[in-house]
């Protein structure tokens, strides 16, 4: 029998590996158990590396935060204290308004979860590539995190959970090209869909061309996508271009900088607003 040349053997091996990995990708797209099993094996094999990395990163992060705190400007502290005093007054006023809002909503036969149940999480790592923008957070299935939960940070919406392991979850950021959220212009209430464009500014699409939108308008979540409760900041309009077909071409500057996200909140309940079912008892004020 003639011996197979190394080049031919390698080409054959490449063919087998390519075929097997294409099957693996197809299985993961379909959510097959086989893909999950392979992923579990790969994950288990990398744990001895990742556990020490997390400890060392944690220590490094503490050191960085310590020095940042030590060198914090004194005037900045004074400014923050004044801001905190102002905000506490504002909070009281908001609380009054919230109560009034609740009473009025009950009168209208509607119910709103003003403060959805949430869980805090820290960002373990991030990948902000052009085609895939993901963060990894240190809360997972064991903490009640499930796919499609909304993730927010100080300032606004961050993204949604796409997959969950026992101790961590992968969150696809709003700036990912495969992300989408329903948004509304806070001033004029013009609705549209927010889509990510990788490293480029996000875009708001399906906004009717006769809508009132100007540069500087704030865009918030509308709550219509069933993931984000309404009212979370998404971004500010930076460009209002010529209409394409029946819709305006709008670019947004994100309210939350993907590169600066360290801690997030995972909302454990779906979108905040729901209409009362006819048989649901209506709370009386």
């Amino acid at each position: 029998m003639a011996a197979v040349s190394p080049a031919r053997a390698n080409a054959l091996l490449l063919g087998v590996m390519t075929f097997a990995q294409l099957l693996l990708i197809a299985a993961s797209v379909r959510g097959s158990m086989a893909a999950s099993a392979v992923a579990a094996v790969v994950g288990a094999s990398s744990r001895p590396v990742v556990a020490p990395e997390r400890s060392v990163s944690g220590i490094l992060l503490d050191v960085v935060h310590f020095f940042r705190d030590v060198h914090a400007d004194e005037t900045e502290n004074v400014k923050l204290k004044l801001e905190a005093t102002r905000l506490s007054g504002e909070l009281e006023r908001t609380s009054e308004l919230a109560q009034e809002n609740t009473r009025l909503r009950r009168l209208l036969g509607m119910h709103e979860n003003l403060a959805p149940q949430s869980i805090g999480a820290s960002v373990v790592t991030a990948r902000l590539a052009g085609q895939s923008r993901v963060i990894l957070v240190d809360r997972g299935a064991a903490d009640g995190v499930r796919p499609d939960m909304a993730v927010v940070a100080w300032g606004g919406a961050v993204g949604r959970v796409v997959s969950v392991e026992k101790g961590f979850a992968r969150v696809r950021l709003l700036s990912d090209p495969n992300s989408g959220a329903s948004g509304v212009i806070a001033r004029s209430r013009a609705e549209g869909m927010i889509v990510g464009r990788g490293g480029e500014p996000m875009e708001m699409v399906y906004v009717p061309k006769y809508s009132d939108v100007v540069v500087g308008d704030r865009v918030v979540t509308s709550g219509l996508d069933g993931v984000f409760p309404r009212g979370f900041g998404i971004g500010r309009v930076t460009v209002v271009g010529e209409p394409v077909g029946a819709s305006k071409s709008i670019r947004l500057e994100p309210e939350v900088d993907d590169r600066a996200v360290e801690d997030v909140l995972i909302l454990l309940e779906p979108s905040g607003t729901k209409l009362l079912a006819p048989d649901e008892p209506e709370a009386r004020p």
Binding site: L13, I25, G130, S132, G199, E200
Partner: protein
């Protein structure tokens, strides 16, 4: 021994990749550390080991930071290992410019193949800017050249120490 070094190289790359994502997430747009073991094995050993190392490092990358298509990076890096291993067997690329060119081309082809495969599997892909690709190529090339130079220096010093011990 070669397997042990490969495991160590892949483990270190993964650890640094996760650290980079935590402390400088913006840099992950231009730099992928998981290609380093692949290039090292393609230039220094055989095509087959480059494919195996590429496959392993790609699958690890998929597990930790790929949201949907598990196996995508594994496939891309296996193909890169095969291609660069083949070129590495024909030419001596184990010098500064060879390493730089290998790192730069691997970074570019990695991005291109990933974009094509994402599209194939029904994902929406963002337009890729020329400037971004240029930065990616230069960053990948310099990083590869620097890391492989350090690895070579380390390997050379280990060999010298071993020879001294033998003589003694």
């Amino acid at each position: 021994m070669i397997v042990l070094w490969a495991v160590m190289g892949i483990g270190l790359s993964l650890a640094f990749e996760l650290v980079l994502g935590r402390f400088a997430p913006g840099a992950t747009r231009y730099v992928t550390l998981m290609t380093l073991p692949l290039v090292a094995y393609a230039l220094r050993t055989s095509q087959r080991s480059a494919m195996a190392v590429g496959c392993a490092s790609g699958l690890l990358e998929d597990y930790w930071i790929e949201p949907r298509l598990f196996g995508l990076n594994g496939l891309v890096k296996t193909l890169l290992g095969w291609a660069l291993g083949g070129v590495g067997a024909q030419f001596d690329l184990n010098n500064f410019w060879g390493r730089f060119a290998s790192g730069a081309s691997v970074s570019l082809v990695d991005e291109g193949l990933q974009t094509a495969l994402r599209r194939l599997f029904g994902e929406i892909v963002a337009p890729v800017g020329v400037a971004s690709l240029g930065i990616r190529a230069v960053a990948g090339g310099l990083l590869t050249a620097a890391v492989l130079a350090i690895v070579s220096r380390f390997g050379a010093s280990r060999r010298t120490t071993r020879q001294k011990h033998r003589k003694a």
